[in-house]
Subunit: 390 residues, 4 copies
């Protein structure tokens, strides 16, 4: 059996279908998409890719299926879905996801179109697997698809541990061995066995700590926002949407350098915008908390106008309200399947804690930061620039 | 400079005072006191000792002092206190702490008597350090003593990481590098610098998860309760209190085997009592939650009597209500020093979560478990034996 | 399936036979025998036990059998042998092995007598396993017994990684995942598959580096020699041989403190003898290199006499010539099974390197070190005390 | 003090000069040059960069200087050199080094031209450091430059551990803590203190094992050779040499896809050439072992001609004879500084072992592998294609 050495799970054995899927161009492309996009501008060791992550998810799915006693055709489809779950990502992964969704209506976990008439689709066909069924498993929370994408999915288990390994931030080192062993499949739901409320909480807590320290670090948010604006200009001006979604990280970085150099070169050299405004949720109006895409762009234009700077010099970054998907994971408590949020005191507190970590960001080049700050305070009605760090 | 290889912190450099302190019999005795007493009956790799832990605490204290810019005489006393903070432990550490406190009035962090006329005291004297000052630092939360024993002490930072390393349970792997770097000393208080609410929370969360999974695992609690009862019999019947407090683990294990074999041999071979009753806080009356030492012993006798078994066959284990010491750690938030419990939504939730993890245990040999369960339900007015696991 | 958390291999699943064997007193005793006896006087974190090591060996054996496609009855016997391979050890493991061999003629891997009429034997019987066959597998290099004790056994794979984890010395971190996957069973021989000369070498090199740095560190050798001499006096004077072989570490440490305090207390407090002579192989005569047990004791008495000190104050430690068992491991090269020593240039060099690391030691209390050194130089005809460290 | 979190060394504190150097475009470019170029086609987790490696080398240099008691101006220059030692690399690091040397006469450690009139040079100037002196330290083995580039340099110490961490292959996990502590500076030479022959050997052995398993894995060699040929075509046909040397990995990957797609696309999708010939040193003539660049290219053309395939379909890869630079590292033995090769039996054996690992490779697309093999056997006078793997 083919095996791949992984720095997190050691050897990963590949079944024959997986071994062939790995060799397709669609999967090899994942070698060139970093798992954490702009996070490595903060944590330099975090250059790992969706290629190795996908192998890790496949590995944990295989082990979970084995512990659940599921094999044969059902297991084969789930394993393929686990392996392929990220091939729908655009360049820089989550960082271009909103842009692609706005323009195509497609989320990254919608991969039906990538399994039809492609090398990946051919491999599935040749092994008697149904591409449509695989795509449905990738997209959905139903049935065993929950293992791939759900409140207790192995995707999250892999990325937490892997991101911890590569960033050096230990908070993500959950006990995936225990999580995988304690999974049960009851009435069509993936749940954790009796005695595992704390196991479920640990997953929630690990992600909450990684969120604050890693995933939403302000430097990564700034670079990410710059990358998203630059990508929009690229798609508007220079490359087709079709071409864009097929790009990998290196393609995008070069294209931005060529076509949107005022942002592209800055990202490449980590010469980033600075925070002109950094405001907690209680310091801003509800309107600002709920700024949508169009409104944010309009605000940017208005701020630029007031500040007398180029529109490209202002970025308004109003994140959506935080959700805690894991809070709906299921655990058996005294023989009854319960939602974690009903069984754990921590879920509510984490929701509140997430709220206190929310920040409105307005970013600008250092040279015009003060002007942009003044204009933004005015336009967005923020009491002050509130530069205190999260 | 002398250096010791440690499996957690790699090389630990010892200053000349530390190098001599390490060679004293009082400190060498810590080689023979396991850090986690009976936990290794659950996690077999957890055989680490207070010797290596004490070196680790010394190491982190040295680094913290260096980051705080504190050196000279003050630092020398703190480093000595860090190294010596555990020499007051009896055999099996925390497991005999209550017994020793009841009989001597002394806590394990009261070490004045161990620095007077001992090799340790001589070393301190010879290097111009004041033993009394060292003992006060070990005991107390005041001033730099907080680094050794306080809400943000390096004791906790070391044991969480070390216990994780040795048990294999990852929850304790906090970011001690960050914690040590972010410490500040303000107005006589050890606090965390701005931007570290989550850093403080991570410490709290790590301990909460380790509590449930490791420190209060029911098997370890059972063995610990057996050890405590056996030790009492030993002190009552066979060895003097003076002799007892000076014992190390191997001395106690042999003495129990010789003098209290009905419990001692069981502990040695992990032939443990089983849970006859295991009841959450809401299933028992306030009286039971607050059972003190005398009342617990009386209950044991009564249960044994009702069940018709020997008193040694019943152990009532009603833990004290959980406290979360770290909740009072201090963090700078927007320039102001605040208690974590006032700055974090999580503290309250953790308190509640700790409450749900509380369990009353009644333990008995397997052969009489049913009789003891029936009697305990009757005597303690528990509705049922409630055997669901934590 | 029962699972145990291990700090090296994470969860170890136990088959039903193993789960019952683990609960026997014979196996539980291994909790109280440290894997590295006196090494922890040098590397304080190395307090791990033969209990966890035995679980690790069982785990690797299970995986190796699975990769080899061996199951059923044959596999069950090998797994049991892997688990039980160390139950024949006396207190402090290898440190009392020679003494026990001299007095009983038994090596630690001779365990037939421990499977007859014991709890372990009963468990094997109850599950239809043949105790004699298990004991033969533990003892021998034949057939699948090579997996348990042979040139490519999983015993070595586990202890190297485990000792590295617990000492903090990284040299032992071999690639056990690869070793286990590349094992083949050909014509009754356990061999490594094609392309693994370097894999085999890595095992050899890891052990060579661990030998010099850990296993044969002079402080551990001194303490070990003191322990052996003390144990002899104990058996001669105070406890029966039968009692001695059944002791665990804590029993021996207490017994030595009671009956041979002049050595026992020193070991307990790491107040060790020092090197009076430390001579490389080229500095001493062949007679000295080949000093056997009786001759060493005679030399001690003579040196003590010349030096005018008590015989207990002189220890002559002339290790046997080094052997490199792994040099005879087998690897497939160009389709042919070859001995590693015939396929690798490194084996010969390692033999020579081991020779240069050989040291004759004569140890004495610091207070009489000079006298003993002078006498030893005279009696053993060593040119000088040669105190240079290895 | 600025600190960066690293997955290998945890927090790395940057002195003020380093903090500014890190922000220059010349240094930021290292974020986009992978440490192990094509190795990640074999070990998918190995996506780490020269950016993080350079920080690691800076960190170990700082610690080594501190242990050596060297500070002030001398130390400042060495630290800067350690940080900057890799800024002279072209895209894909070592993989384009020969090409760049042939065309420019410059090695990657020749960085004088990068310190003149650049942001890096400005930072050095502003802090009173001499760019020329820094460049000389990077280039040379003299004086403290040995710490940066020499037989015992911290460059090697960092990359071995880092490559092990990121590939998952444990052989590189040397004891860098010990190595750094045991360095001494004697008569202008960096040496290891008494008692460290084995420490020096461990460095040698780690690299030998990593060479065979990682650095010279045949898949990485094939991809590397393809990349080198493709780069030559790129420089010949499409981009200037000046442009080429300033490229980072992403620039080159895109440029190859655009201008040399027949090779570039294959590298991107890991659709690699296969081994047509793979012959050990004893199977080929001395002429072939010593094939230089021109002769290799000529052989490729001749083989292509004989095989009737396009010249781009044949790659001859005759590595230079292995050298073991570490064999000349210095260790104090009995008070005298000696070369390791004179103090260790292992060095000679490793030289011989390296020789047995040498392989001539001839690579071709799978579709024409047989034709190319036949032609290569003929042209290079290899007895057979010898496809056995290393």
């Amino acid at each position: 059996m083919t095996a791949v050495k992984d720095s997190v799970h050691d050897y990963i054995s590949l079944d024959p279908v997986a071994a062939e899927l790995v060799d397709t161009p669609e999967f090899q492309r994942l070698r060139h998409i970093k798992q954490l996009s702009t996070v490595r501008l903060v944590y330099p060791s975090a250059s790992h890719t969706r290629f190795e992550h996908s192998l890790g998810v496949y590995h944990l799915a295989s082990r979970a299926l084995s512990h659940l006693g599921i094999d044969g055709d059902r297991a084969a489809h789930v394993r393929a879905a686990a392996l392929l779950h990220d091939i729908g990502h655009g360049p820089y992964g989550h960082q271009t996801e909103d842009l692609i969704r706005r323009r195509t209506g497609r989320d990254h976990d919608e991969i039906h179109h990538l399994l039809d008439g492609t090398a990946v689709g051919d491999v599935l066909d040749a092994h008697g697997l149904d591409p449509g069924r695989v795509a449905t498993l990738v997209a959905g929370d139903s049935g065993l698809g929950q293992l791939v994408s759900g409140e207790l999915d192995v995707d999250r288990m892999d990325y937490l541990v892997r991101d911890a390994h590569h960033t050096g931030v230990p908070y993500g080192t959950i006990d995936h061995g225990r999580l995988v062993r304690e999974l049960r499949y009851r009435d069509g739901k993936v749940v954790l066995a009796e005695g595992n409320v704390q196991t479920a909480e640990s997953l929630l807590l690990a992600r909450a700590l990684m969120n604050g320290t890693v995933y939403r670090h302000h430097v990564s948010r700034i670079a990410g926002a710059m990358l998203e604006r630059a990508s929009e200009r690229l798609v508007d001006d220079a490359v087709s949407l079709d071409e864009f979604v097929r790009m990998a990280d290196h393609d995008l970085l070069v294209a931005l350098g060529d076509h949107v150099p005022e942002l592209g070169r800055r990202i490449e050299c980590r010469n980033l915008y600075k925070r002109a405004v950094w405001a907690p949720i209680d310091a801003v109006s509800t309107d600002v908390v709920e700024l949508d895409y169009e409104a944010s762009r309009a605000a940017e234009r208005e701020i630029a106008d007031v500040a007398g700077v180029s529109p490209v010099s202002v970025i308004v970054d109003a994140p959506s309200r935080p959700r805690i998907k894991e809070s709906r994971s299921r655990v058996v408590v005294n023989g009854v399947v319960r939602r974690l949020e009903d069984a754990s005191e921590l879920v509510g507190a984490l929701r509140a804690a997430e709220r206190t970590q929310w920040r409105l960001g307005v970013y600008a080049p250092e040279s015009v930061r003060d002007e942009v700050a003044a204009a933004a305070i005015d336009v967005l009605d923020v009491p002050t620039r509130v530069t205190t760090h999260a």
